[in-house]
Symmetry: C2
Subunit: 251 residues, 2 copies
DNA sequence: CACCCGCAGCGCACTGAGTGCCATACGGGA
DNA sequence: TCCCGTATGGCACTCAGTGCGCTGCGGGTG
């Protein structure tokens, strides 16, 4: 399932090579085998440890709860995302930085398509797992929001913008990811993700292709604005600010 | 706490007036009393039913889980929101409709400020409750997204837009609500919520004050657009479409 | 070599949430 | 008076999760 697909039998000491934590992987493999053939709720932790040939207590040393075994790599991924955001340069666009960060999450899914699809089917059926996945996804969103809050600190509505943009990016990611998972991992997620994130960026006024400004010519910024009938002046101003993604008092 | 603040003693039959489900309210009151004085995890269901003077089995007849007693009115509110969205006219702006719907949720909080603030403090401290609240909030977001998906069906990126806008509206709501809850329920949530939702509307191209177009003069629509250096033509077109909130092939 | 120490896993017993089943009490209608 | 539907209480059970102490192994040190 995840790297080591066969559960090493108990008693084998120091496997030939690979698998740093054999026990952990064995538990994940055993758990998914049972989840897929009987269902999540019909599988007890005792069943899992019996199949894996380990003690019950060991399960809870590797996974704080039964739900955690379904998301064995999110903890690591969240750390990667946090680190990536912390290492960012203050020069680059915050929204783009978050969009790049969310691709790290996508990569975690695409690295193991069959595993991801199986998990998706599982979480779709079991309400408890859906709720748990929600709390997992929420932590990514919090990481995005906190990063944006730092970067937008001092700007008008910085906190609000941070929350909304983080939510929008996460939603776009989930939309593209779910579409890919529904199609059993076939198709080009990357392009779909780019498209979804491009929509978010356009909504929040970041240039859509910054890292590779396709066919950048030498034209200056052109300001055009859409105002509806009856929109008061302050709204027009706010619209410009929102589109520019910055406040008048700050560069 | 919620309507009936004192727990009716067991044995009293058919209270004088008010309180349709006395048992339910008594359980909520007893639960919060204990949660506040000992903490959530330090309170067992047995403690709650003992204080309320009812049988343990009755607790789980009214609340599917211990967590549910913390959010006693969300089920009703979710039904209200769903009904409100279903009853919508096809003429009005979908984004605005969702913004109105989210105000129903806000109202549920503001109807009982002290209760809401207490619950906020509780959920902030207890990770399990935060996770549960997440799944509750997620159901509102799903209701928004499904409504938007229906309304945006056929338009380009309809599903994507629905998800992203729903997430943005929910995030704006949460931002304003949390700010209000942090300040112990003081201050004008309504205005803050309007401001937050206005930001979302401006980002997704809805006119910010549609129900009351303040100072509507007779000016025609003016199209202005912000294009960055190097943005290709298709991006400019997409920007216009996004700002207008509709597709060229549709009205 | 003997000793000690730390780590990884194991076993056991316990708490507490959640469920199924049945008994009971109340109230209304035939 | 009997019957029946509903609301509640009580009991026993499963299972997730925890605390504690035991064991065995490997590695360092005298």
């Amino acid at each position: 399932m995840s790297s080591s697909s066969t559960a090493p039998r108990r008693g084998e000491k120091t496997e030939t090579a690979a698998a740093k934590p054999p026990m952990r992987d064995a538990l994940v493999a055993a758990a998914f085998q049972l989840f897929l053939e009987r269902g999540y709720e019909q599988t007890t932790v005792d069943d899992i440890v019996a199949l894996a040939g380990v003690g019950r207590r060991s399960f809870f040393r590797y996974f704080p709860s039964k739900e955690d075994v379904v998301f064995p790599d999110h903890e690591r991924c969240l750390a990667d995302v946090t680190e990536f955001l912390a290492a960012g340069d203050d020069a680059d666009d915050p929204v783009l930085r978050v969009c790049e960060a969310v691709r790290l999450v996508l990569r975690m899914y695409t690295e193991n398509p069959t595993f991801s699809v199986q998990r998706y089917r599982l979480t779709k059926k079991v309400p408890g797992l859906r709720a748990y996945e929600l709390s997992v996804v929420w932590r990514y969103e919090r990481a995005f929001a906190e990063y944006l809050r730092r970067r937008l600190a001092g700007r008008r509505d910085g906190s609000l913008r941070a929350d909304v943009i983080a939510a929008a990016v996460a939603a776009a990611h989930n939309n593209a990811l779910r579409s890919w998972l529904r199609s059993d991992g076939k198709g080009d997620v990357g392009t779909e993700m780019d498209h979804a994130l491009g929509y978010v960026q356009s909504a929040f006024g970041a240039s859509p292709t910054p890292t590779a400004p396709e066919r950048a010519d030498d034209s200056e910024d052109v300001v055009v604005l859409v105002s509806r009938r009856g929109a008061p002046l302050w709204r027009v101003v706010q619209e410009i600010e929102a589109t520019l993604g910055r406040d008048p008092e700050q560069g």
